[in-house]
């Protein structure tokens, strides 16, 4: 064995090991400074009915907030999964799900909801101010707020694949059942 033999083997095994370790991670789960902070309050018109909805009204509940837009391709991808999350937890009295329709034409948003289905309310955020308060990079992004009004989880990107079970089993369910989240 010469020096370069050892070096080559170490480098190759190192790279493979690093990739293996990295595969389980999601480069897009960006830790937000908002996690652990109080959720910014907001209010805005409901996309479909136009009546004003406010976050304050849901004090003491576990809230899933999903930022989306009709022009966003990935939002279509996750939409059925969001409906499934809502189906799964809708019987818990303390569960609330809210969509935030981000910088969208109201007509387009209604067409989107009519064609893909809607079982929970959506708030219009035409000027993007709610998104700014929540530090949204781009849609879709999803937040989970606990019963004390604290943001406990944030995910950037569509809720598809492993993150679906992560958000339902490790975040929403424990919060609803009053258990501590595993970190």
């Amino acid at each position: 064995m010469k020096g370069w033999h050892v070096a080559t083997i170490v480098v190759i095994l190192g790279i493979i090991g690093l990739f293996y370790a990295g595969l389980g991670r999601d480069p897009r789960s960006i830790p937000s400074v908002l996690v652990g902070k109080e959720a910014p309050v907001f209010s805005g018109p409901d996309v479909q009915s136009g009546e004003i909805l406010a976050l304050d009204a849901y004090k003491g509940k576990v809230i899933v907030l999903n930022f989306w837009a009709s022009w966003c391709q990935e939002c279509r991808l996750e939409h059925q999964n969001l409906l499934a999350i809502h189906r799964q937890f809708r019987n818990y009295p303390d569960f609330v799900m809210l969509g935030i329709d981000y910088q969208d034409q109201p007509g387009d948003a209604i067409v989107f909801l009519n064609s893909f289905g809607s079982t929970y309310p959506h708030v219009r955020d035409i000027k993007g101010t709610i998104a700014i308060d929540y530090g949204v990079y781009g849609v879709p992004e999803t937040f989970v707020i606990d019963s004390h009004g604290m943001i406990r989880f944030k995910y950037v990107g569509p809720i598809v694949g492993p993150v679906y079970t992560q958000i339902t089993d490790q975040i929403i369910r424990p919060l609803l059942e009053g258990k501590e989240l595993q970190r």
Partner: protein, 650 residues
């Protein structure tokens, strides 16, 4: 029905490629050439089968068969025909199929081209190429098939990602794949040389053109990606050190090192292990690029499908290739003893060696920058990104050294350069470089890197011009003709050298373009209402107003700008914001680009408010055209070498 034929063809191709691994293996054991010939039939059959596979998918696209999931996800009925065909490689599954198709095409071509000339290499080549094909086909068949049906059948497709609906994007992936996959042939030859023990210069001569071809395709692929980013993404730049850009750049860097170091082996029989090492690294990095792109392991603008299952498969596949090929190299390289020692540090050999070293250091720099975020995330769980400042700081000095070597290596003598040789070749260029630096300083260039680069470009250009002049006049004297004919004769007698020098000129032109467009770029972001005016550099831009525009499958808004230089009207510019009417109404930005003195005036409209105010990013990118011209000249240089005429000895 049609699509099932394609699917079936690909499944058979997978089986055929496994047969293609086994039959040459049996041929090697038994010594019966019929088995090896069966291996050749296998790669040929694979090419036909995969052509059928791609063909049925294209047919499904053209006939808008949205019952095919991949077609429904990547096209719709309003998509122009041109993009409907290119949608074949618009998504993950189709890209892989297309990759496998190119691999099969190259494998078959190599088998037929080198069948008579390299019989001893052939069984190994066939085994390796078939293994690679089998690896990709297994991924397609088991984990990411573009042939899947979807039920219920959607009435309309989702549309091709609007960002990809662009001529630049149509050709960018194929060229990259041609480069990546092309390197598999020299790679296979190298492994074949190791396995068969025929470790002379044969494999290098045989793959000379394959290497050059792959290299120039990769060069074009990277450039097209840059060009596309430049006019489609609207941030005024062409290169962002994004992980996926880096993934294509790394094989290019090592491939370039390989391209040069093989010359030393041909001329001086040195660097034998080194060359094998380089080509294995080059192809490994091509696979690594595919892995990075397809596994979604790194966060990137190119974030495609993020599927851990595929990631695991590609990782296993890549690890197998890495371990086997480097393993073979390590075990077999003991047979190679570098017989010839370096005569002197001042020689062409050592200039090439330094060229190689610096290319590898450059690669390591990019590699570390690309993987560092992953490393930190894995070890400490902290997210970070490595951006342009790191690369500029570390990469630029390396490039400058490589540029200096580019001037020295082609001119310095082999073995040991005498003082006379050095004085004769480099004294005048050194003086010209000084003069270049002084003139640049007088012209107002004050930053250290552009100044150094300008001096080095002058140096290299001078070495090339002087060399051309000397040789042309030699041939002109020799045959009693004029200089121009002498130049032709000089080129005719050493096409490879002069093709290489032309490519170097292309590099110089490109470097000037890069310096101009990065160090002297002007930019400004402003909010305007109709009637407003702003200035950037020597130009003033008057915002006239907004108007609606419409394309075949998009609607949009464009803003009208009148551009003046002083009182002289230069042009009207119309940056657009488009909304594709297909499945995705994702807004895209179409920058307005006005060529001006080899550079561009560039406007990109990022936002429109309801009251008609707009946000505009304005750029002035001097000399940016030189980057694309440089690429063209590099291509010309390679063509000059590739289409080398057989010299008849008279």
């Amino acid at each position: 029905m049609i699509i099932e034929i394609g699917y079936f063809a690909v499944i058979i191709a997978l089986m055929v490629s496994i047969a293609g691994i086994l039959t040459p293996l049996i041929g090697l054991k038994t010594g019966n050439p019929a088995w090896i010939r069966a291996g050749r039939q296998a790669v040929t059959a694979n090419f036909i089968l995969l052509s059928l596979g791609c063909g049925t998918l294209i047919y499904s696209f053209l006939s808008h068969d949205f019952s095919v999931k991949y077609v429904a996800m990547n096209s719709n009925s309003r998509l122009p025909v041109f993009y409907t065909v290119s949608a074949l490689w618009g998504g993950h599954e189709g890209s892989l199929l297309f990759w496998a198709w190119i691999l099969a095409a190259f494998a078959a071509l190599a088998a037929w081209l080198h069948w008579k000339t390299h019989p001893a290499t052939m069984p190994y080549l066939l085994i390796i190429e078939s293994s690679l094909t089998a690896g990709f086909l297994a991924l397609i068949v088991f984990l990411s098939s573009p042939f899947e049906r979807v039920f219920p059948v959607p009435a309309e497709g989702m549309d091709l990602n609007p960002l990809l609906q662009d001529p630049g994007m149509v050709f960018h992936p194929p060229f990259l794949y041609l480069g990546y996959v092309g390197f598999s042939i020299p790679f296979s030859f190298a492994l074949a040389a190791l396995l068969s023990g025929r470790l002379g210069e044969e494999w290098i001569r045989a793959t000379h053109r394959w290497t050059l071809f792959s290299w120039i395709m990769l060069t074009f692929g990277i450039l097209m990606g840059g060009y596309w980013a430049y006019y489609e993404l609207g941030w005024g730049g062409y290169w962002a050190w994004d992980p996926v850009e880096n993934a294509s750049f790394m094989p290019w860097l090592v491939g370039t090192a390989f391209l040069h170091s093989v010359m030393v082996q041909e001329k001086r029989k040195m660097f034998k292990v080194w060359n094998l090492f380089l080509i294995i690294v080059t192809f490994s990095l091509s696979l690594l690029g595919t892995f990075l792109v397809r596994s979604g392991i790194l966060s990137s603008v190119h974030a495609f499908a993020n599927d851990p299952g595929r990631g695991v498969y590609i990782l296993i596949f890549m690890s197998t290739v890495l371990i086997l090929s480097f393993g073979i190299l390590i075990i077999r390289s003991n047979r190679l003893k570098g017989k010839i020692e370096m005569d002197s540090i001042v020689s062409r050999e050592s200039a090439f060696l330094f060229n190689n070293l610096f290319f590898l250091i450059a690669t390591a720099t990019v590699f570390l920058g690309t993987l560092y975020p992953l490393l930190v995330d894995t070890l400490y769980g902290t997210k970070l990104t490595v951006g342009a400042p790191y690369y500029n700081k570390v990469f630029l000095p390396i490039v400058l050294v490589i540029l200096i070597l580019m001037g020295i290596a082609p001119m310095i003598a082999w073995r040991k350069a005498s003082k006379e040789n050095i004085r004769k070749n480099f004294l005048i260029p050194a003086v010209i470089a000084m003069a270049g630096a002084v003139i640049s300083a007088i012209l107002g260039i004050r930053q250290i890197y552009p100044l150094a680069a300008a001096a080095i470009v002058c140096f290299v250009a001078a070495t090339i011009v002087i060399d051309l002049y000397k040789n042309s006049s030699y041939w002109a004297d020799h045959s009693g003709t004029n200089l121009l004919k002498g130049l032709y004769k000089a080129w005719y007698h050493n096409q490879r050298r002069y093709g290489g020098l032309v490519t170097h000129v292309g590099v110089l032109v490109m470097i000037l373009g890069i310096i101009g467009s990065s160090a002297y770029k002007l930019e400004k972001t402003i909010i305007l209402k109709p009637g407003d005016e702003f200035t950037l550099g020597h130009y003033s831009y008057k915002f006239q107003g907004l108007q609606d525009v419409q394309g075949i499958n998009w609607q949009g808004v464009e803003s009208l700008f009148n551009v003046y230089e002083g009182n002289y009207f230069v042009a009207e510019m119309r940056p657009q914001k488009r909304f594709y009417t297909g499945g995705s109404q994702m807004p895209t930005t179409e920058a307005a680009i006005q060529p001006r003195h080899m550079g561009d005036l560039y406007l990109s409209m990022t936002d429109i408010t309801q009251d008609g105010w707009i946000t505009v990013m304005a750029f002035q990118n001097p000399l940016i055209h030189w980057i694309w011209y440089g690429g063209g000249i590099m291509g010309l240089g390679v063509v000059l070498i590739l289409f080398k005429r057989k010299r008849r000895e008279s």
